[in-house]
Amino acid sequence: MSSRDEILQRVRAGIGLGDAAGRRAAAEAWMAGRRCGPQPFLGGDLLGRFVARAESLSSSVERIAGRRSLPASVAGFLAAGQLGSAAVIAPELADLDWAASGLSVAARPAVDRDTVGITGCFCAIAETGTLLLLSGAQTPASVSLLPETHIALVDERRIVGTMEDAFALLRAEHGSLPRALNFVSGPSRTGDIEQTIVLGAHGPRRVHLILAAA
C-alpha cells in the first residue's frame, strides 16, 4: 500500500466515521461559509490606528498628497539618511518620473547588491500595522526582502481593518492566490542571541512607509 493510502487509512481508523461523502459535503459547506472568529473593535480611524501600530513596530511613516509625489519624498528620505540615490523598484512603480527627483532606479526583482527597495502594497491592515504584498511579475517579492532599506507606498484608501478584511478584498479583486502573499510588519528582527532584539536579521533593517492620500 502507498504511504498516502496507509496514512489515510490510519486516520480513518482513528476517527472511526464512515460517510465520507457526507463529511466532505460538510467540509465544503464550512469553507463556503467563511465564518470569521472573534473580531477586534477598531473604531473609525483606521488610518490613525495603522500609523500608530506601524510606528510601534519600528517603521517610520510619512504622508504625501498623491502617488505622483512618491519619487520626491523618496529622494528626501534617502538624502536625509545618506542612503544614496539608487534603488530597485517594483515594476508597478515604473511609470513614475524617478529621474526628475535625481534617483536612478531599476524595475526588476532585487539582487544582493541593491541597497534600497521600493514597492507598493496590495493593501494595509490597521489592526496590526501590517502591509500585504502579493508576488507577481509587476510586484516581485525580493524587492521588499533583499535590500537593507524597504520603502513602501501605501494608498490610504486601501487601509482595511483586519486580516479577514484583506482576504475579502483579495477574493473580490483576484480569482486565486498568487504564489506568495507576504504580510510584512516592520523591519526583520531576531532575538536569538540572549533574547536581545536586533533589527535587520535577514531582511530589511529599515522600513519606511509613505502614505498617499490619493
Binding site: 472568529g37 508576488s135 486580516m163 542571541i193 536586533v198 535577514h202
Partner: protein, 477 residues
Amino acid sequence: MTAAQPLTFHARAGEKVRDLRLQAALQKARPLFVGKRAKGVAALAEDGLDFERLRSAGEEIRNRVLADLDVWLEIFEERARAGGAEVLWARDGKEICDLVIDVARRHGVSKATKSKSMLSEEADLNAALAAAGIRPVETDLGEYIVQLAGEAPSHIIAPAVHKSIDQVEALFAREHGRPVQPRSSADIPAMAAEARAVLREHFLSADMGITGANFLIAESGSAALVTNEGNGRMVTTLPKVHVIVTGIEKIVPTLEDFATLMRLLPRSATGQTISNYVSLLTGTRREGDGEGPTKTVFILVDNGRANLLGSPWQDMLRCIRCGACMNHCPVYFSLGGHAYGWVYPGPMGSVLTPLLTGLENALELPRASTGCNQCGSVCPVRIPLPKLMHRLREEQVVRGLRPRRERLMIGAWAWLARQPKLYRWLAARAARYLRWLAGDAAAIRVFGLAPAWTEGRDLPVGPGRTFHELYAARKRA
C-alpha cells in the same frame, strides 16, 4: 526517527541543574518570555477582544480539522496540486529523508537552506542530507547557532536560548575563521550582522529551500510560514526548489480560520501582535514571474500522529507549536530543553515524546511535572497538558512499564492499606522513628532510607504521633 534516549532523563536532569551557565541563561529568559506574553494577551482588551473567546475559537478550529482529518487532507492535496505543487506522503522519519534526498537528486541540489522545521528534527534530516552529499544550512539565527554547536534546539521558538553570548562568539569565530573577541551585550547587533552576511551567501547560492509550515490552508492548498527574521521568505523566494515538510495535523480549513489562529500564535509565543513576516505560499512561480521556485513539494508526515486520533491523547494534535507551555513551566526552566532528550521540550514534549517515540522510551517524561497546570492555563488551543500526562502515567501502569521495584512497593502498600490494625501499628512506629531521627530539628536533612529524596530538600517531620492518635487524644480531652 531519532530515538529518544531511554531512561536517562534523571541523569540528564542532574547534569543540567548543575550547569551554571545554562541556569543563568534560563533565569534570564524566563521573565522575558512570561512578561511579553502577558502584555500581549492583556493588550487584546484594548480592541475589545476576549482572550478566552479567542482560545475557544482556536480550539474549535483545530478540533474541526481533527474530527474529519482524512477529508481535509484530501481537500488540501487536491488544491495544492491544482496550484502546481507536488504532494508526497511520509509514514516516518526515514521516509522523509528518502523523499527529500530524492527530490534533491532529481534537481541536482548540492546545498539546501532551511527555515525551521520541527519535522526535519524528528527525522534527523540534516544528518541524512549530509550523508547524501547535500549540505544543509540552518538559517534561523538560533538554529544556525545550534547547528554550529552540533546540538539540537532546546526550545521550539528560541532554539539557542541555552547559549550564552560567549558560547555564540566562540562558535562564530570558529565557523567564520576569525579570532575570538571579548563580547558584551552591546556587541549583539554586530554578531547578528556577521551571521546575516554569512547566511546571505548561502541564501543566494542554495538550490533548494526546506521549510516546515505553521499551517496548511485547505481551501487554497497553501503553506503558511511565520517568521521574524525573514529567513522563511528567503528560502521560499530564492532557491529553484522548495520542499515543505510538515505534519498531517497542521491543516486549517479557511483563510478566515487562519486569521483567527494568527491572533493566538504570535501572542502566545512572543507576545507580538503579529510576527514580522507571515507568508502564504501557493504552488510555484507563475508565468511572467522573474523569481520564485519552479518546483514546490509538500511532504505530509504521519510519524505517529494518526495513531493519536481517537485515542485519549487526540487533544495533543491541536498543538500550534507556540511554546507558551514551556515558557511557563517550572520544570522546563530548571532544566532547559535538552534534558527532555528529544525534539520537543517542556510540557508538550512530555506528552508528545512518549506518544511519538514509544511510551517505554520516555518513561520519566510524563512524570516531569509538578502538576501546577500553568501550561494548561496558557495553551492557546486549550490542550489539557497535565491531564494528558496523568493519562500517560496511568497507561504506563496498565502496560506494566513501571520498574519492578516500584510495582512491588506499591503492591505491598496496597496490601498494607487493607490491614487497618497492622497499618496503624506500623504508622505509629514510623512516626516515632522519624521524630527520633530528626532530633531537635523540624526536618530531616538526609534521610538514609531514600537519600535521593533529600538531595535538594529536607524532609519535614511531624510531632511523632499519627493523625489517628492525635485525633483520639483530642476527643478524649
